[in-house]
């Protein structure tokens, strides 16, 4: 078997994943912290003020990476949900469940920072704009997943039911987004593009990209941390968990 595939299959085994998470978690955590400090410094101190929005544009360095993560994590969550439903891999169920609170947190950060940015720029904390509304709906989709999963007594049943809901959400998110867009839009267009030229100066762009990377690393860190704990709890009767606990103590 191809070594990459073998590693992937091994990762599905709870003891292997537990060891993997224990080993790599600190690295992700530390690098996320370092990059956040660097990104924050560059964004909040070094980057020049915007000619139109002044200093208030600096909220972007938290708002935009959080918004990217809110959607990215939903994708990761739904993917794990699909794997959990199709192949019934226990680890995917836990990864799926661990994604939801992290994603909800990023969505909440996006909404809150967006409100603080909206007040000086648009003159109101909240406007019924396409992106704001879709983001709010996304938050409720996360809440629905968390609420449904925790309403079941059986963890695995709850995870699978919530996974169905997450997949329903995947189909609906684009519909919701475009229907709200058709309905009303005030939000500024995308300024950062992967293809072609971004309409943002590089001195302002770099801190943003660093923050984007930092949030990604933080997500991996938080995901490993949560999944590792959930795994140890679910498998608490097993020999390998006892050994790992003895080792940790």
């Amino acid at each position: 078997m191809n070594p990459v595939w073998r590693w992937f299959h091994q990762l599905g085994s709870p003891p292997y994943f537990y060891r993997f998470a224990t080993r790599w978690m600190p690295w992700f955590g530390i690098s996320a912290l370092l990059l956040t400090v660097i990104g924050m410094y560059l964004g909040f101190v070094e980057a020049p003020a915007d000619y139109l929005q002044g200093d208030s544009f600096r909220i972007m360095y938290i708002h935009v990476p959080a918004a990217w993560m809110s959607m990215f994590i939903y994708g990761v969550m739904a993917l794990n949900g699909a794997i959990a439903l199709i192949w019934r891999i226990k680890l995917s169920e836990l990864l799926f469940l661990s994604c939801a609170p992290i994603g909800a947190m990023f969505t909440a950060i996006t909404l809150i920072t967006g409100m603080f940015w909206g007040k000086p720029t648009w003159g109101a904390y909240w406007v019924w704009d396409a992106r704001l509304t879709s983001e709010l709906v996304l938050l409720f989709l996360y809440f629905g997943v968390i609420g449904l999963a925790s309403a079941y007594d059986d963890l695995r049943q709850g995870a699978r039911a919530a996974a169905v809901l997450a997949l329903v959400g995947v189909v609906n998110v684009p519909i919701i987004h475009f229907s709200v867009k058709w309905w009303n839009t005030l939000h500024q267009g995308e300024t950062v593009r992967i293809m072609g030229k971004s309409s943002i100066d590089s001195s302002m762009l770099w801190p943003l990209l660093i923050m984007a990377l930092a949030t990604k690393l933080y997500f991996v860190f938080a995901l490993l941390l949560r999944t590792r704990s959930a795994l140890a709890e679910q498998e608490r009767g097993k020999q390998w968990v006892r050994e790992a606990m003895v080792e940790a103590a």
């Binding site: 439903l85 019934r88 509304t133 709906v137 409720f140 989709l141 809440f143 629905g144 609420g147 449904l148 309403a151 079941y152 695995r156 049943q157 699978r160 039911a161 169905v164 809901l165 997949l167 329903v168 189909v171 609906n172 519909i175 919701i176 229907s179 709200v180 058709w182 309905w183």
Partner: protein
């Protein structure tokens, strides 16, 4: 068509059960009138203030009233073991979901749509908006029922589902509400409602295609099959 017999039987059973308890059948209508009453009082009751908001208020009222009946969609079948019989039997669960959704729509979607003229009268809805309102509601409630059966199936085996059901259903209602309300708005502004109605219908068709299989999958999860 013997192949359709189990589904016809389920549809007939759901309708018959509903008509045996006529009081329950009228509850959503009573609820809708009460919500309209609250809005009427809160808005001061003057036609000038009521008329512009009447269409959105009717939409929200109908969606809320239909939502209230979702909790009882699968619960009796779970409690008396009918659901486990379905899951053990050879009949297609997806087909049963279609029958279930059709029964729910005929009872609540069509019922609430037919009672809309009453709500419209209470809220001073301009008469020329009524036909498009009825058309949009008839299509939109069919879509809303599809969202409803997924949510009801996901929460069927839980002891309590009230607020959770709302949390699941309401965000998904949003696109239906936008185009349903948009169609009425278009007529109010003197434009053609065709675009909004077609998009509403397109969504409903998509929901009709995807929701019953999703609901069937959701019902299977809670059954005690080996994980």
């Amino acid at each position: 068509m013997t192949a359709l017999r189990p589904y016809q039987a389920l549809l007939a059973r759901d309708l018959r059960l509903a008509f045996r308890r006529r009081a329950d059948l009228l509850l959503p209508l009573g609820f809708a009138v009460l919500v309209v009453l609250l809005f009427g009082i809160a808005l001061g009751g003057t036609p000038e203030r009521l008329a512009p908001v009447s269409a959105p208020v009717i939409w929200v009222t109908v969606l809320l009233a239909g939502f209230l009946s979702l909790d009882g969609l699968f619960r009796p079948d779970v409690d008396d073991g009918t659901l486990d019989q379905w899951l053990a039997g050879p009949t297609s669960i997806v087909g049963l979901m279609y029958a279930k959704a059709l029964a729910h729509w005929l009872l609540y979607g069509v019922g609430l749509t037919l009672s809309t003229p009453l709500l419209a009268m209470l809220l001073n809805l301009p008469v020329d908006l009524l036909p498009v309102m009825l058309a949009a509601l008839a299509i939109g409630t069919l879509g809303a029922t599809q969202i409803g059966i997924i949510a009801a199936a996901l929460t069927a085996r839980l002891r309590r589902s009230g607020i959770l059901l709302a949390l699941i259903v309401m965000p998904l209602y949003l696109p239906l509400l936008i185009f349903g309300s948009g169609a009425v708005d278009a007529v109010r502004l003197g434009e053609s409602p065709k675009g909004a109605l077609l998009l509403l219908a397109a969504q409903t068709v998509l929901l009709l295609t995807l929701a019953p299989p999703a609901a069937a999958a959701a019902l299977r999860i809670g059954s005690d099959n080996p994980p």
